[in-house]
């Protein structure tokens, strides 16, 4: 039973990551394209990690919680990297519009 729940959780997380990648490929401008991958980094990662916790807790019949480390890492690092990246993109766009007549 818990195996099936874990597999379904992992599948839902993979679906979120896939939809995020489709959005990354299909949207038109960079500032639109920043949004979709965050689906994979937040809810996709959270669901896959929840599936991992459920499966290994049932397999080893003790609470397995070390997946929380990855969850904390992704929660802290994703906003930092994307804000740095968007600031770099804004800087580059401004520089291009200044140099072009």
């Amino acid at each position: 039973m818990s195996e099936t729940i874990a597999a379904l959780l992992v599948f839902a997380g993979a679906l979120f990551a896939f939809v995020g990648s489709v959005g990354l490929l299909r949207l038109r401008t960079f500032y639109e394209r920043v949004h979709p991958p965050t689906m994979g980094t937040t809810l996709g990662t959270a669901l896959v990690l929840a599936g991992s916790i459920v499966y290994f807790t049932a397999l080893e019949s003790r609470p397995v919680l070390h997946e929380v480390l990855i969850a904390i890492l992704m929660t802290v690092t994703t906003p930092v990297t994307y804000m740095l990246l968007v600031r770099a993109a804004l800087h580059r766009d401004r520089r291009v519009s200044h140099t072009d007549p």
């Binding site: 993979a14 489709v22 991958p37 990662t45 890492l73 990246l85």
Partner: protein, 91 residues
């Protein structure tokens, strides 16, 4: 093949397809910031793929690999964004 294995195989296929789409954006993506964003997405999808592989094999060995992939993805994306912003990584 049981339900567990087949659903996990489907999840792995989805994640592989997601990596492929991110790779397409990495190859196509008109400017450097698009490529950096695609590289970050590729890292995250690869980390999820390694986690799904670990669940399917039933060992916690792959967890450390996923953690290292996540940390390296953060550091490389932050360094590349800093490079795009300033023209050098360490100043």
């Amino acid at each position: 093949m049981s339900l567990f294995t087949s659903v996990l195989l489907g999840a792995q296929m989805l994640l592989g397809l997601a990596m492929l789409l991110a790779l397409l954006r990495l190859l196509r993506g008109p400017r450097a910031q698009d490529r950096v964003l695609a590289l970050d997405t590729l890292y995250v999808n690869g980390m999820l793929l390694v986690l799904a592989l670990g669940i399917r094999q039933g060992t916690t060995l792959y967890f450390e690999a996923a953690l290292v992939i996540g940390m390296l993805g953060f550091v490389s994306t932050a360094a590349l964004a800093k490079f795009l912003l300033r023209g050098e990584v360490i100043e």
